[in-house]
């Protein structure tokens, strides 16, 4: 046993008391849906965790009706301060049940318990706490006179940060006075269903939050429902395009958080040790299942070899395996389909002439796994430099001048995130000005906070989540002119 080998330290799943099956959460109660049910599995073991209902278009209609009724009869009649108190309650309940939620999330998603325990769930609580305080202060948000809720919000979230994405959607919507119908991702419905229990514990009025589980057809039924006033979607750019097209010409408010191909730019004067950690948290955090991941490393040419050597040597110390083990750094890929996508795109990297390096590690026999992988000799035209991989795969490109770094970083239809590593603040600010991306991390990466707006330029979508700006997508005011988005 070397100093890098750790004894197993698994987090116990005894804290969970899951049911054998879950219905849909409509009108404050779990109800049987009208469709079939499907299993949600642990991607680390492929074992079934529980069964959930697949909501049909009729179920979605019932959920929207429930949300509309709650909006008209209850939620819109409450004062902002009373709404806020419900949100504060939810924040506290999440804190109280945080370990249980972290274990459930890790089990269902495959991400390390270290991340769910220290990042996801604390941020979920923070998100509700932050927006709770806005509920009775909307007129101070600077979004025009007499800000008012939109009505019923339909929300569709991805599988990479299941409960955190739920919080990003539900907290501002409820604070602004909307009611919601939320569809969690097909592969990660578990924590949304536990959240439904938390709504019950908080005594949230029935119908204010409705959870419909299912796959793409359930989401499509929600997007095309005529009585939904707002659609908030986080997911792929392809699906986002379809939503924008479907809702063209209508009055539905739409915000879209879509894909990205973030550039992480390392200048030769950067603090290299910190930069190496930043590169790793930029692309290997959450197995790279992050829309704002720093998946393109732009490294100044004269330090390329040193950065790659240090990066590989640091990566070799990471531990891949049981997500419930507290020492695990790299968990499981969320699904078989996603693993196959990662494999297909990385195969194209080999075929197009890039050089692949993967961390040497033991891959578990069950579940879906992909070792942290770094491609060098990458050209800007390669598929691995253009397409969002959504996996633990880094493509390394080089630059010589700051202008070239900016040009390469912006050379993508996406515009979600970017990183800059330099000890020279004036250069950092000048580069930040020129990058066409909604979130720029300088000498850090993948930081999130409920007070900080997040969202994309160009084909990474529109609208912002977080902060004062995050309220704008759930309110309209007397001064808004022109409609549209």
């Amino acid at each position: 046993m070397t100093f890098l080998d750790y004894a197993k330290a698994p987090e116990s799943t005894k804290i969970l008391s899951l049911r054998d099956s879950y219905g849909l959460f409509i009108g404050g109660e779990f109800v049987d849906g009208h469709g079939s049910s499907f299993a949600t599995i642990s991607p680390a073991t492929e074992e079934t965790i529980t069964h959930v209902a697949e909501a049909t278009a009729h179920d979605v209609d019932l959920a929207v009706h429930s949300a509309r009724s709650a909006y008209a009869k209850t939620w819109s009649k409450l004062s902002g301060s009373e709404r806020g108190k419900y949100l504060f309650r939810i924040a506290r309940l999440i804190q109280e049940r945080s370990r249980e939620l972290a274990v459930a999330e890790t089990l269902d998603n495959g991400k390390p318990i270290r991340e769910t325990r220290d990042v996801d769930i604390p941020l979920v609580a923070a998100w509700f706490f932050y927006y709770a305080g806005w509920a009775d202060k909307l007129e101070y948000a600077g979004l025009g006179p007499n800000p008012q809720a939109l009505g019923v919000a339909g929300q569709i979230i991805p599988w990479n940060f299941p409960l955190l994405m739920l919080a990003w959607k539900i907290a501002p919507a409820l604070a602004a006075g909307n009611t919601v119908v939320l569809k969690p991702a097909e592969t990660t419905p578990l924590t949304a269903l536990l959240f439904a229990e938390i709504c019950q514990q908080a005594d949230l009025p029935a119908g204010v939050v409705n959870i419909v589980t299912g796959a793409g057809t359930t989401g499509a039924a929600l997007v095309s429902h005529p009585d939904v006033n707002k659609i908030a979607f986080t997911g792929s750019t392809g699906v986002g395009r379809g939503i924008a097209k479907l809702l063209a010409g209508g009055t539905t408010n739409v915000t879209l958080e879509l894909g990205g191909k973030g550039a992480n730019i390392i200048f030769d004067d950067a603090a290299i040790d910190q930069a190496i950690e930043g590169i790793i948290s930029g692309i290997f955090f959450n197995q790279g299942h992050v829309c704002c991941a720093g998946s393109r490393l732009l490294v100044q040419e004269n330090i390329h070899d040193e950065v790659i050597q240090r990066l590989q040597s640091r990566l070799q110390t990471l531990r891949l395996g049981d997500p419930l083990d507290k020492n695990t750094d790299i968990g499981a890929v969320n699904s078989k389909a996603q693993l196959e996508r990662i494999q297909a795109i990385t195969d194209s990297g080999d075929a197009e002439g890039a050089t692949r390096w993967s961390m040497a590690c033991e891959i578990p026999t069950k579940g879906f796994w992909f070792p942290p992988t770094v491609f060098t000799d990458v050209q800007t035209s390669h598929r691995i430099a253009r397409d969002e991989i959504f996996g633990p795969v880094l493509s390394v490109l080089t630059f010589r001048t700051p202008d070239e770094a900016v040009q390469k970083a912006n050379n993508t239809p996406y515009g979600l995130s970017a990183g800059i590593w330099t000890e020279k603040a004036s250069r950092m600010l000048a580069i930040a000005d020129q990058l066409r991306a909604g979130v720029i991390w300088a000498n850090t990466f993948n930081k999130f906070d409920p007070a900080s707006p997040f969202g994309g330029y160009k084909e990474s979508g529109y609208g912002r989540e977080g902060g004062r700006h995050g309220l704008a997508g759930y309110l309209h005011s007397d001064s808004a002119k022109g409609g549209g988005r």
Binding site: G240, A248, G249, P453, G461, H469, G482
Partner: protein, 288 residues
């Protein structure tokens, strides 16, 4: 002694700071309200609008990179030059719209005041729409709005009171934050738009920042709505067109879209921020 023969103006397009004819060689007749011939306007083609997008894209970073103070002065300069040529605009509006002198004067006055209002917002909108963020950690965290990029707009197309003012109202909102623009002028009353282009060309607006084309919006808009290098559509004057199909085309590249409005859009911060993107910058704080 015979009356002097006047020298009429040839109305052309405004692309990249120059006044070319349509590459297609096509023109269309512009008539007054009584059906009298006023001029031949250039009928822009697909290639013309694509050239306009190229010009707008190449001019945009420089305009966005200028100081907000300078951008405000450029917009204010448009108002100054417009004021100096008010008689010309009054005459053109009267001929095109058939309105009274006082109505035409009122339109020109409002157009000038529109430039002044947005000129004043150029160095303020970012303060109103941006803010620092108190994140829980040792980070400097600032959110600021930036121009979206290249915006395509259709000027309001009403029969009276809009041929100059409508175009100014959409242009000033888009320019205030530093976007560049391709504008489709009032289809049937395009003369003031081209005269406005002469004002812009002599007002310190960098060439290519504003491009104004005349022609048939129904024919030109599909090219622009689906153009890969256009970031946003302002459909202000598109109410009578099949504008939903434009928005559907725009969805392919996730363009920002503002829907048609009744009449002329009023002074509005929301219209400025509709064509901006919020950028959030995080930076570590440390003593060492």
């Amino acid at each position: 002694m015979s009356a002097r023969i006047v020298v009429p103006k040839t109305y052309k397009l405004f692309i990249g700071g120059k006044f070319p004819r349509s590459e297609s060689g096509y023109t269309y007749e512009v008539l007054g309200v009584k059906g009298q011939f006023l001029a031949n306007a250039a009928k822009a083609s697909r290639k013309d609008v694509r050239d306009a997008v190229v010009a707008a894209r190449s001019a945009q970073p420089g305009f966005a990179g200028a100081t907000a103070y300078l951008r405000g002065q450029i917009l204010y300069r448009v108002a100054e030059v417009l004021e100096g040529r008010r008689n010309q605009f009054v005459a053109e509006i009267r001929a095109s719209e058939g309105v009274s002198e006082s109505a035409a004067e009122k339109q020109v006055d409002r157009a000038i005041d529109t430039w002044v209002w947005y000129a004043g917002f150029a160095d303020k909108y970012a303060q109103v729409a941006g803010n620092g963020n108190p994140v829980s950690g040792p980070f400097f965290n600032l959110s600021t709005p930036e121009p979206t990029g290249v915006v395509v707009t259709i000027a309001p197309q009403g029969e009276k009171g809009e041929s100059l003012l409508g175009l100014c109202a959409v242009l000033a909102t888009i320019l205030a934050s530093g976007n560049s623009v391709v504008a489709l002028a009032h289809q049937h009353q395009p003369l003031s738009a081209i005269s406005l282009a002469e004002v812009l060309a002599t007002s310190d607006v960098p060439g290519g920042v504003v491009n104004i084309v005349t022609g048939d919006p129904a024919e030109l808009m599909p090219w622009l709505a689906s153009h890969q290098d256009v970031n946003a559509l302002d459909l202000a004057g598109a109410a009578s067109l099949d504008w939903v199909s434009f928005e559907e085309l725009a969805a392919e590249t996730l363009k920002r879209v503002l829907h048609p409005v009744e009449g002329i859009p009023g002074f509005s911060l929301e219209r400025i921020t509709a064509f901006t993107e919020t950028k959030t910058v995080w930076h570590t704080k440390a003593m060492g």
